[in-house]
C-alpha cells in the first residue's frame, strides 16, 4: 500500500491547496485594493508530483507589493494501476493420483472448462487466465512444496486448492505468510477456520465444511423420520468418518433426546467387503442406519446391503450419498436419504439457468466423468474462478485500475456469487463460503440411467452454520428446542 495514495487523500490535498491559494489571492487583492491599478500574478510551480509551490504576487501601482508564497504538499492524482498485459497465472494444487483422484479429477475438468469459457470471452478485464496445475497426491508435504514453488518460481497471482483436510490445515498458515490470495475449494476440516486459521486474511474456502455437512444431514434425517429413535452407523475408520458420526449424533441427541446408538461398525477405507459390518448392524435392529462412507466404498456398501436385505429392514441415510449413488445405476434401492453439498439437479434447471448451462456443457464435454454430471467439486471449481473474476471486476470498478491482492480480498468478503448450486457468499469474518446443502430420497430414473434424488430439498445455511467465531458444538448445544 505504501506508495499508493487513495482518491480521498488526493482530493483532500487538492482542495486544501486550492483553498489556501484562493484565500491568499483574494486577501492579497483586498489588501491591495486602494489603488486602481492592480496586477495580480500567480505562478504555480510543480516541482515534483507531490509538491506544488504557489506564488501569488499582488502589486498595485503606488503601494507595496505583497508576495505570498505557499508551498503545499498535495497528494498528486495517483495514476490507476495499469492492467498488466500478461495473463493471470492461477496456480492449481489438486489430487490427480491415488484413490482421492476420483474426487478431484472432475473438479479440475470443470475448472478448465470455465477458464476456457472466460478466456474466450476476453478473460478477466482483458487478461487471459493461465492455469498451472500441480498434483499433490493427497500428501501434505507435497502440497506445501508445490505451493511454495507456485509462489516463488511460478509467481502465481492466485492459487486455488483441492485438497484433503490434512493438506488444507497444513497449507493455511503458509498461505497467510505468503500473502497470496488462496481459495481452498475442498479441504473441509471443521477446525481449519475454528482453530488452525481463525482470522484468515488471504485464505478463503468454498465447500461446506464437515460440520455443516453433518448438521444439515442430521436435520434432514430428523425431518424425514421424526419418530426414529434407534440409530446405527457403518463408517469409514478414520478421522472424517468418526467426526461426521459424532456431529450427527450430537445434533440428533438435541432433536431426539431419547435417541440411542444401537450399533457401530468401522470398516477401514477402501474396504472391499462390508458383509460382516452389515450383519452386525442388522442384528441390532436399528430404525436408521447411517453410512458415513464415500466414493467406491459407499457404492460397494449399498450394493452389498441389497444382498443382505438392509434396505428392507431399516431406513438408510448417507451424508455424502448425493454425490455417489449414480454409481449403482438403476439397481440402486429407492428411498435412501442422501445429502450432498451440491446436487446437479438443484436448483431445478428450469428455474436456474446457470445450473442448466453448466450441466449441459459438462455433460457434452465429459460424458464419462462422474456419471456425466458435475459433482460438488465441479461446482466449487466454477465458484472459485467466477468469485475471483467478480471480485477483481468489483475492485476495478472502485479503484479504476488493476486491483491489489488486498483490494480483491476486500471485494471478496461478503461477495455474493451466482453458482450452479444457487447463490453463495463468502462470510467476511471467517472467509467461509455459505450456500445450500441438498438432501433428497433416491429414486431410479430411466431418463438418467441411475438413481436421482427426488424429491430433493435444500437446507439453508442459517439452519446449519454456526455464527462466525462460534464452534459447532457450543452452537448446537445452545439450541433451544421446544
Amino acid at each position: 500500500m505504501g506508495e499508493r495514495i487513495s482518491r480521498r487523500d488526493f482530493l483532500k490535498g487538492l482542495v486544501g491547496g486550492l483553498i489556501v491559494g484562493g484565500v491568499i489571492g483574494v486577501a492579497g487583492g483586498y489588501v491591495a485594493a486602494p489603488g486602481k491599478e492592480k496586477t495580480i500574478t500567480a505562478t504555480k510551480t510543480v516541482t515534483s508530483e507531490k509538491t506544488v509551490t504557489k506564488t501569488v504576487t499582488a502589486a498595485t501601482s503606488g503601494a507595496k507589493t505583497v508576495t505570498e508564497t505557499t508551498t503545499t504538499t498535495v497528494t498528486a492524482k495517483p495514476k490507476p494501476r495499469e492492467i498488466p498485459s500478461k495473463p493471470i497465472k492461477l496456480g492449481v494444487i489438486t489430487i490427480l493420483t491415488g484413490p482421492g483422484a476420483m474426487l478431484f479429477d472432475p473438479g479440475l475438468k470443470a475448472l478448465q472448462m470455465e477458464v476456457e469459457k472466460i478466456n474466450a470471452q476476453g478473460g478477466i478485464l482483458g487478461r487471459k487466465i493461465e492455469l498451472v496445475v500441480k498434483d499433490s497426491g493427497g500428501k501434505p508435504d507435497k502440497c506445501i512444496e508445490h505451493y511454495k514453488r507456485l509462489v516463488t518460481e511460478e509467481q502465481a497471482d492466485f492459487i486455488t486448492v483441492g485438497a484433503t483436510s490434512a493438506e488444507a490445515c497444513a497449507l493455511a498458515p503458509i498461505a497467510e505468510e505468503s500473502k497470496v490470495l488462496t481459495i481452498i475449494q475442498e479441504g473441509t476440516a471443521t477446525k481449519l477456520f475454528e482453530e488452525v486459521d481463525p482470522h484468515p486474511k488471504y485464505v478463503f474456502r468454498i465447500n461446506n465444511y464437515d460440520a455443516l455437512d453433518a448438521i444439515s444431514h442430521a436435520i434432514a434425517i430428523h425431518k424425514a423420520w421424526p419418530k426414529a429413535k434407534k440409530f446405527a452407523v457403518i463408517g469409514a475408520d478414520y478421522v472424517w468418518g468418526h467426526d461426521e458420526w459424532n456431529i450427527i449424533t450430537t445434533v440428533l441427541k438435541k432433536l431426539v433426546p431419547d435417541m440411542e446408538i444401537v450399533a457401530e461398525a468401522w470398516p477401514p477405507l477402501f474396504a472391499k467387503d462390508y458383509s460382516a459390518h452389515i450383519s452386525k448392524v442388522l442384528a441390532a435392529k436399528p430404525d436408521v442406519v447411517e453410512l458415513c462412507l464415500w466414493g467406491g466404498d459407499l457404492v460397494t456398501c449399498i450394493k452389498q446391503g441389497i444382498g443382505y436385505g438392509l434396505f428392507k429392514q431399516c431406513k438408510v441415510a448417507s451424508v455424502t450419498g448425493g454425490e455417489y449413488v449414480w454409481g449403482l445405476g438403476t439397481e440402486c434401492p429407492e428411498g435412501i436419504l442422501c445429502s450432498t453439498r451440491y446436487y446437479f439437479l438443484y436448483p431445478p434447471w428450469d428455474r436456474w439457468h446457470i445450473n442448466k448451462e453448466f450441466n449441459e456443457e459438462f455433460h457434452k464435454r465429459y460424458p464419462d466423468s462422474h456419471g456425466g454430471y458435475p459433482g460438488f467439486n465441479c461446482n466449487s471449481a466454477y465458484t472459485a474462478i467466477h468469485a475471483l473474476k467478480l471480485a477483481i471486476e468489483k475492485a476495478y470498478a472502485i479503484t479504476g485500475g488493476w486491483p491489489t491482492t488486498e483490494e480483491i480480498i476486500a471485494a471478496m468478503e461478503n461477495l455474493m456469487v451466482p453458482t450452479p448450486g444457487g447463490y453463495r457468499y463468502f462470510r467476511k469474518e471467517d472467509h467461509q463460503m455459505l450456500g445450500y446443502a441438498v438432501s433428497g430420497f433416491t429414486k431410479v430414473s430411466k431418463e438418467f440411467g441411475f438413481a436421482i434424488l427426488d424429491p430433493v430439498w435444500a437446507v439453508p445455511p442459517e439452519e446449519m452454520a454456526p455464527p462466525p467465531g462460534k464452534k459447532w458444538k457450543e452452537w448446537v448445544e445452545s439450541w433451544k428446542i421446544e
Binding site: T97, G98, A101, S279, G296, D368
Partner: protein, 292 residues
C-alpha cells in the same frame, strides 16, 4: 443363531477372497523364492479388466467369460514380468527383488490409472441378478456362495495339479532344490515362468471375483497386498495349506471381531499375527526357509 450363521458365512466369504489372493503370492514365493510386491497391483488390474469386460458384455451370457479372460490376461502379464524383469535377479540379493517388484507395483498401478481413469468402475447388475436367498429367515446374496464355490474349486484344482500331476511334481521339486532339479534335467526357468503365470492368474481371478460385489477402484491394491501378507505370515510363507488355514482364521476372526470389538477391527488381525509369530515364528505350516 441367525446372527451366528451370518457371521460364519461372512467369515467364510472373506476367507475365500483372501485365499485366492494370498495363494498366488505364496505359490510364487515357494517355487521361485520371490516376494512379489506387485501382486496387489496385478489383483487391481485384474479387477479393472474384469469390470470393463463385464460392463460391455452385461446383457449377454458371455459376461461370465470376463472372469477367465481377466485371469488369463493377468497371467500373461505375469509371464512378461518374469521373463522381462525378474529372471535377471534370481541370484541377486533379496533387497533387489523387493526394490524391483515394488517398482513394478508402482508402474502397474500407474498404468491402471492411465488406462482406466481415476473413477471407480461399478458393476452392480451381476451381483444383484445372481439372486438373494433366505437363510434362517434373513436374506443372503447368492453371489457370495458362488465366490466360495469357485474358490473351493480353484483350491481343489491347485491341490490336484501340485500333488497329482507330473507338472506338480516338477514344480515341487524345483521348490525344494533348484540346483538338484536342474542337474536331473528339469528346465527350471520354464517352471518359474509357469509358476508366475499361475500365481498372477490367481491374482487376476480374485480381482475379477471381487468386482461384482464391490468395485474396481484405485487403492485396493495396497490393502490386498497387506492382507495377503498377514495370511501367509500366519500360515507359513510358501505353504498353500498355510494360506488356506490362514485365510480361514483371518476371515472368521475378522467377522467376529467386527461383531464383538468394532473399535479394534483392524488391530485384531495384527494381534493374531503377532501371537502366531511369537509362538511359531515360521508360521503355522511354514518350513525353515532360506533367503537367497
Amino acid at each position: 443363531m441367525i446372527e451366528m450363521t451370518r457371521f460364519i458365512l461372512d467369515g467364510f466369504f472373506y476367507a475365500s477372497i483372501l485365499f485366492l489372493i494370498s495363494s498366488g503370492l505364496t505359490l510364487i514365493f515357494s517355487v521361485a523364492g520371490i516376494i512379489n510386491l506387485a501382486h496387489g497391483a496385478l489383483y487391481m488390474l485384474g479387477a479393472y479388466i474384469a469390470a470393463v469386460l463385464i460392463k460391455s458384455l452385461i446383457n449377454t451370457p458371455y459376461a461370465i467369460l470376463a472372469f477367465p479372460i481377466a485371469a488369463l490376461i493377468i497371467g500373461l502379464i505375469g509371464i512378461i514380468i518374469e521373463r522381462g524383469f525378474i529372471k535377471w535377479i534370481y541370484e541377486r540379493e533379496f533387497v533387489y527383488q523387493l526394490l524391483l517388484t515394488f517398482g513394478l507395483a508402482l508402474v502397474l498401478s500407474d498404468i491402471t490409472r492411465i488406462t482406466f481413469g481415476t473413477e471407480p468402475i461399478y458393476v452392480t447388475k451381476l451381483y444383484i441378478h445372481a439372486g438373494i436367498i433366505d437363510i434362517l429367515g434373513s436374506p443372503y446374496p447368492v453371489y457370495n456362495f458362488i465366490v466360495m464355490a469357485v474358490t473351493f474349486l480353484i483350491g481343489g484344482l491347485m491341490w490336484f495339479i501340485m500333488y497329482k500331476t507330473r507338472a506338480g511334481k516338477i514344480i515341487r521339486a524345483c521348490a525344494l532344490d533348484r540346483e538338484m532339479s536342474e542337474a536331473i534335467g528339469i528346465n527350471t526357468s520354464r517352471v518359474f515362468t509357469l509358476t508366475f503365470f499361475m500365481g498372477s492368474a490367481l491374482a487376476g481371478i480374485s480381482g475379477a471375483l471381487v468386482v461384482p460385489q464391490s468395485a474396481a477402484m484405485l487403492g485396493i491394491d495396497a490393502d490386498a497386498l497387506i492382507e495377503s501378507f498377514i495370511v501367509i505370515v500366519i500360515g507359513g510363507v510358501g505353504s498353500i495349506k498355510g494360506a488356506f488355514i490362514g485365510s480361514l482364521l483371518i476371515g472368521l476372526i475378522r467377522a467376529f471381531g467386527i461383531a464383538l470389538f468394532p473399535e479394534i477391527e483392524l488391530a485384531i488381525v495384527y494381534l493374531v499375527m503377532a501371537a502366531v509369530l511369537l509362538i511359531r515364528p515360521r508360521g503355522l505350516f511354514g518350513k525353515e526357509y532360506r533367503v537367497a
